[in-house]
């Protein structure tokens, strides 16, 4: 069986087509850090997610990826506070203002409209409950499904993520391997058929072959169920494999968004370019790699102007004046590519990973 998926290409970059499922404007998240101080972990994000689309959120550690994901689903810890506008368009035409939801409406939104698979699969389970109990509790809290309906639905989804329900349902979370737990979480998050699934580092810390099985499972379930997803990853290869569109995040803001091929072959932000040049491809000859000097800034002391300027080899005095806005680099319809860099016209990727081996099938 060949598990390669080419469907990503046909689903291509369609930012800007039709009505977005999720529309995010000037979204901010602040954390209170004690003594009356706060830090802004997300500083004004604009983002549209279209039906059926897969969006990768990439960036180094601490850039605010998890915070953004949690904030969009109103799952922030108590000391976090979100502001701005997040609109979810239900299929029936109703628009939901997510930041205004509370109580029952919020709970309903979280499983039926959108669900999240958290970073670090173990913490998401109650260790004293078997997988069966997790499935039943989740379904019963949100639907009037009968016992048998729940068993059927859970069984169907477990098989979809390539697990045998008979073996898994009666296990405690700790009895499963990391890869199995991650697949159970994916199945659970899909119980109520959400329109949007947010996955935070779905393969990080898993072994290569296990990662591959998760990636294949995600390709398959998305094909079958057609939900939209936002997945967070520091692994660019995963974005290349799974995303239709990619958003690069730096110091709490999106600095570049575009179709996956535009971002990988024609990046226009020096940070995206730097990330791509730092990833060693596996096939072919030894590439020249480059690192990005330094590290992301502390949120408490952001550089003036473009926050990337201390690490940027394109930086000029102008870059230290004002923070650039995220602006389109093309007016081609249906092919949105936005960049927050005043020198984007000078940014070009020279290297392209060549498949020296010819493409094995």
């Amino acid at each position: 069986m060949v598990t390669t998926s080419t469907s990503g290409a046909t689903r291509a970059a369609r930012g800007g087509e039709g009505k977005p499922l999720l529309s995010v404007r000037d979204f901010k998240v602040e954390y209170r850090t004690g003594g009356g101080a706060t830090v802004q972990a997300v500083r004004g994000v604009d983002l549209d997610l279209y039906p059926g689309e897969s969006l990768a959120l990439v960036g180094e550690s601490g850039c605010g990826k998890t915070t953004l994901g949690l904030g969009l689903l109103r799952l922030l810890p108590r000391l976090g506070h979100a502001s701005g506008k997040v609109i979810f368009n239900r299929g029936d035409g109703t628009e939901i203002d997510i930041l205004g939801l509370d109580g029952r409406d919020l709970r309903e939104f979280r499983w039926r409209d959108a669900a999240m698979v958290f970073q670090g699969a173990m913490n998401a389970f109650n260790p004293v409950l078997k997988i069966r109990a997790h499935m039943h509790d989740t379904m019963r809290a949100h639907t009037k499904a009968t016992r048998q309906e729940i068993e059927d639905r859970a069984g169907e989804l477990l098989r979809l993520v390539r697990l045998e329900p008979e073996r898994v349902m009666d296990c405690y979370p700790h009895e499963l391997s990391g890869g199995m737990r991650q697949r159970v979480l994916i199945a659970m998050s899909l119980l109520l058929e959400p329109e949007v699934l947010i996955l935070d580092e779905p393969t990080t810390a898993l072994d290569i072959l296990t990662q591959r099985s998760i990636v294949d499972v995600l390709h398959e379930v998305r094909e079958r169920l057609g939900f939209s997803m936002i997945f967070i990853s520091h692994d660019l290869s995963l974005a290349a494999e799974l995303a239709d569109r990619v958003a690069t995040m730096y110091a709490g803001r999106l600095v570049e968004t575009g179709g996956v091929r535009d971002l990988f072959y024609r990046p226009r932000h020096p940070y995206t370019l730097g990330l791509i040049k730092a990833v060693p491809p596996i096939v072919g000859d030894l590439p020249d790699l480059e690192s990005i000097p330094g590290g992301p800034p502390s949120l408490a002391a952001l550089p003036k102007g473009c926050t990337f300027n201390p690490r940027c080899k394109f930086a000029t005095d102008e870059c230290r004046q004002a923070e650039p806005d995220l602006l389109p680099v093309t007016d081609e319809p249906g092919n949105a590519h936005d960049v927050a860099c005043i020198h984007w016209k000078d940014v070009h990727l020279e290297r392209r990973v060549q498949d020296d081996l010819g493409t094995a099938s």
Binding site: D207, T210, A240, A243, F264, I276, I282
Partner: protein, 351 residues
């Protein structure tokens, strides 16, 4: 045949390898019974050479590395440093072996003492082993070492505590500390796994300079084949699975022309940082996703319950030996040993 014997011994002067593991095993007693975390492996590292040890978690990489560093005594087999069995050495020689082989831990957060400044961390071994005399000379040497690992200007880092540094900076400090005793071999166990991509490459570049400029040999352990490729391109790579070496050879061949079904599955499974390429990469499904437990190893080839090339009666009988398949490249697989690896892939190795 063993990896040591099949390895083309491209030594500079035909001298003894720096480090040799000969038929080394480590057995642990666990609740589930005794497990062979490492089962009769042969490895050698020459001066200034890089040997990458790759494999998934639990394959025995750290256990092997700890034996190479003299931190754990093998249940069976011999660990030799510069031709001498380290467990027959007298105290003095063992001490000098331990100084010549430095182990850099996978977690930069856990490996530095949080209550010591960087200066204290680095000067302590210098003074303890009498590498330099007096605080002034120790401080100068510490500054020199920080410069070697690209922490410049050193004055900015010497007075700091580990929590004031980033992950990459801490890992550089750990390397600087490993360099205090002028090691011949650095054992780097997943030393860059916890770092962000961009920082990882700069730490690897720094390690590469130590290898080239100081002639330090590396036993470089990683589960990430792309990192092994980048750091070990001019060296060799051994692939471990459930305590055994299943493939060994020059790194470019392991990466671009692997022969063992397990190595091929690993290489194929890795997504590429290129959307067109990654979607056209050929992939074979494994027969099972589950990694067997070391306490209940499958008979014969331990990869057989998962292997796409499995042949009933052949693969589940004897444990396959590591034999040479192509010049300098050996694999432990019955089918590849019988059929060769000729038509396995259309390509020839790049180097």
């Amino acid at each position: 045949m063993t990896a040591t014997e099949t390895a083309p011994q491209d030594r500079v002067d035909g001298s003894t390898p720096l480090m040799t593991l000969a038929a080394v095993s480590q057995v642990f007693d666990t609740k589930a019974g005794p497990i062979r975390a490492v089962d009769k492996i042969d490895l050698s590292v020459n001066p200034g050479e890089v040997l990458c040890l790759v494999g998934e978690s639990g394959s025995g990489k750290t256990t092997a590395a700890r034996m190479a560093a003299g931190l754990a005594r093998p249940t069976d087999g011999k660990v030799e440093f510069a031709g001498n069995d380290i467990w027959s050495m007298n105290r003095h020689d063992f001490g000098s072996f331990r100084r010549s082989v430095q182990y850099v831990h996978q977690d930069p957060y856990a490996s530095l003492n949080p209550t010591r400044t960087i200066q204290q961390t680095i000067t302590a071994p210098l003074l303890k082993h009498g590498v330099v005399k007096g605080n002034k000379a120790a401080a100068d040497k510490a500054a020199e070492l920080l410069t070697k690992v690209d922490l410049t200007p050193p004055e900015n880092y010497l007075p700091k505590f580990p929590h004031q540094l980033s992950g990459g900076q801490r890992q550089r400090v750990a390397v600087a500390r490993a360099l205090t005793l002028d090691p011949k071999l650095i054992i780097a166990d997943e030393s860059t796994s916890m770092l962000d991509v961009s920082i990882r490459i700069s730490v690897l570049a720094m390690l590469g300079r130590l290898r080239d400029d100081l002639g330090v040999g590396f036993l470089f352990i990683t589960h990430d084949l792309a990192i092994a490729k980048y750091f070990g391109w001019h060296g060799k790579t051994a692939v471990m699975y459930l305590g055994r070496i299943v493939e060994f050879g020059p790194t470019p061949k392991i990466i671009n022309a692997p022969t063992h079904p397990y190595t091929r599955a690993l290489i194929d499974a890795i997504p590429e940082p290129d959307p067109d390429l990654t979607k056209t990469k050929g992939r074979q499904s494994l027969r099972s996703l589950e990694i067997p437990s070391l306490a209940h190893l499958p008979s014969g080839c331990s990869f057989h319950p998962r292997c796409p090339l499995f042949e009933d009666g052949l693969c589940d009988g004897e444990v396959p030996e590591l034999v040479e398949i192509r010049s300098g490249q050996s694999a432990a697989c019955h089918v590849v040993a019988r059929d060769g690896a000729g038509e396995v892939r259309p390509d020839e190795p790049v180097a």
